[in-house]
Amino acid sequence: MVIIQTLLIALLTLAARCHTMLGTSLINRPIVLGALTGLIVGDLQQGIIMGGTLELAFVGAVSIGAYIPPDMVSGTILGTAFAIAAGQGPETALALSYPIAAAYQAVSTLGTPISLWLMHKCDRYAEIGDVKKFERGYWLTGFIPKLIFVPIVPLAYYFGSDAVTAVLNQMPAFIQTGINISGGLIPALGFAMLAQMIMNKKVVVFFFLGFFTVKYLGIGTTGVAIFAVILAVILVQIEQRFNTSGSVQVQAGGELDEF
């Protein structure tokens, strides 16, 4: 049973690592991996809840620019699997996932030289115009650096589950409570990272509009999202009206006709 679970976790890890092959389609996000891990280790319901919790904690973890986020794939799969095995809740999954994600991030940088070496072989195939070899080199450059690291997560699951359960059972109560409390705080980090990306003076008010709509009117995020789309359309139309009446002269200048 554990062997089958370990193999399925290996497959899930491989699929998550290859999310870029499938159009960077976010199948590596905690909300997806949590549910699938739950399914593998036998508690889909808990897996979905843990995935949702971790998704919020990792919501800021996207690699934009130079920022390399902690490895949420290993964090989610192992955090969820260990927490379910130990009979604990989503907060435990959260507490386990961060150290795992940070540690894995450090290990995975070792893969960089391999991918660079493979990539330079493709340079040579391009220079001689050999399409077949180039395409083969392309797929190898994609797969090999991911494949060599796949065993880490399933092996950690196979050998670590009992140890982690034992440690969790020994833990003093205030640490458990404290981790539960921090489960409510950590999402703030994700939202702050996100807001930092899009916030400026002109639009900062919309953050507060969303916040207090929920607090005072009690409609959930889905409701706010619907109103946000409607509001954005209306405001863009108003803005557009101002813009076109203001920029008629610029267009009459004929700069656009050059194209």
């Binding site: 499938l22 909300i31 995935g51 391009a126 409390i181 969303g210 706010v224």
Partner: protein
């Protein structure tokens, strides 16, 4: 602008060789764009691989080798609409062959490089900041209740618009050639798009902060009949004042340059300290 511009080739030189099927192949081969992402030249391999069907049709022998090498230079932009510069490159490469006297091959590189910034500017904020947050907002609130629709809707809300735009980008890029972005920039539409997208992104981020960030103080105030606690008083003044304060502090620390990972451990420490000393619950 009719709708054919995003689904088919609109008008073409009668000597043209690039077909609708070629562009469809470019779309399909653009899907693993980031599969070979690396620190040195980032998306260069993916770009060359995706454009190969067009290059193979236009060039043979040494010319093909030159064209492949030309597209092996550094590239990086939002992967979800990478088909737009790919479409433009396809149109330009074709022009190089049809009209070699007037089109310079170096312009292919210049144009695609010049577009990295603007495309990433709109693309990153729309896809990462708006569409993903919309998907997370809807998906996570269902997932927290243990509903399987959570992860499913998350993937659908993100990927249906993503793949539609990825497909249309191929044809839009090819049909409009190089003039499109400069037109968009001059008309101010680009700022409008960013403006609308950031409204949605911030409102959803605000509502998620309200729903999913929580902190409850456990500090009694007064004694006997009038005994109450600080949290009740604060909630009476402004509901959600504590989560908003947590958000504000974290936002400020990020701005001060504190890295996200240490911040996570700090927040965990605050929770454990609060539980140990009993001022949080």
């Amino acid at each position: 602008m009719n709708s054919k511009i995003v689904t088919d080739i609109v008008s073409q030189d009668q000597n043209a060789v690039v077909t609708k099927d070629d562009l469809k192949k470019v779309f399909v081969r653009s899907i693993p764009m980031e599969f070979t992402w690396n620190y040195e030249r980032q998306m260069h391999l993916g770009y060359c691989y995706a454009l190969l069907p067009v290059l193979k049709k236009l060039y043979k022998g040494q010319e093909l080798a030159d064209a492949m090498t030309r597209h092996m230079e550094f590239y990086n932009t939002t992967p979800f609409i990478i088909t737009f510069p790919l479409g433009i490159s396809a149109a330009q490469e074709e022009k190089c062959v049809l009209d070699p006297a007037h089109v310079d091959k170096t312009s292919v590189s210049t144009v695609k490089t010049a577009m990295m910034g603007p495309i990433a500017g709109i693309g990153d904020s729309f896809f990462w900041g708006t569409l993903r947050i919309l998907a997370t907002g809807v998906g996570a609130s269902l997932a927290l209740q243990g509903n399987i629709l959570g992860p499913l809707l998350f993937l659908l809300i993100y990927n249906v618009p993503h793949f539609v735009m990825r497909y249309m980008g191929t044809f839009l890029g090819y049909n409009l050639g190089t003039s499109f972005l400069s037109k968009l920039e001059a008309s101010g539409s680009m700022q409008l798009l960013t403006y609308g997208a950031s409204i949605i992104g911030l409102m959803v981020a605000g509502s998620m902060t309200a729903e999913m960030v929580y902190m409850t103080l456990n500090i009694p105030v007064g004694v006997g009949e009038t005994a109450t606690d600080l949290q009740t008083i604060l909630d009476g003044i402004l509901p959600g004042i504590m989560p908003l304060a947590v958000f504000g502090i974290v936002y400020w620390l990020l701005k001060k340059g504190v890295k996200p990972l240490p911040l996570t451990f700090i927040l965990m420490g605050v929770g454990i300290l609060g539980a140990a000393l009993g001022f949080l619950m």
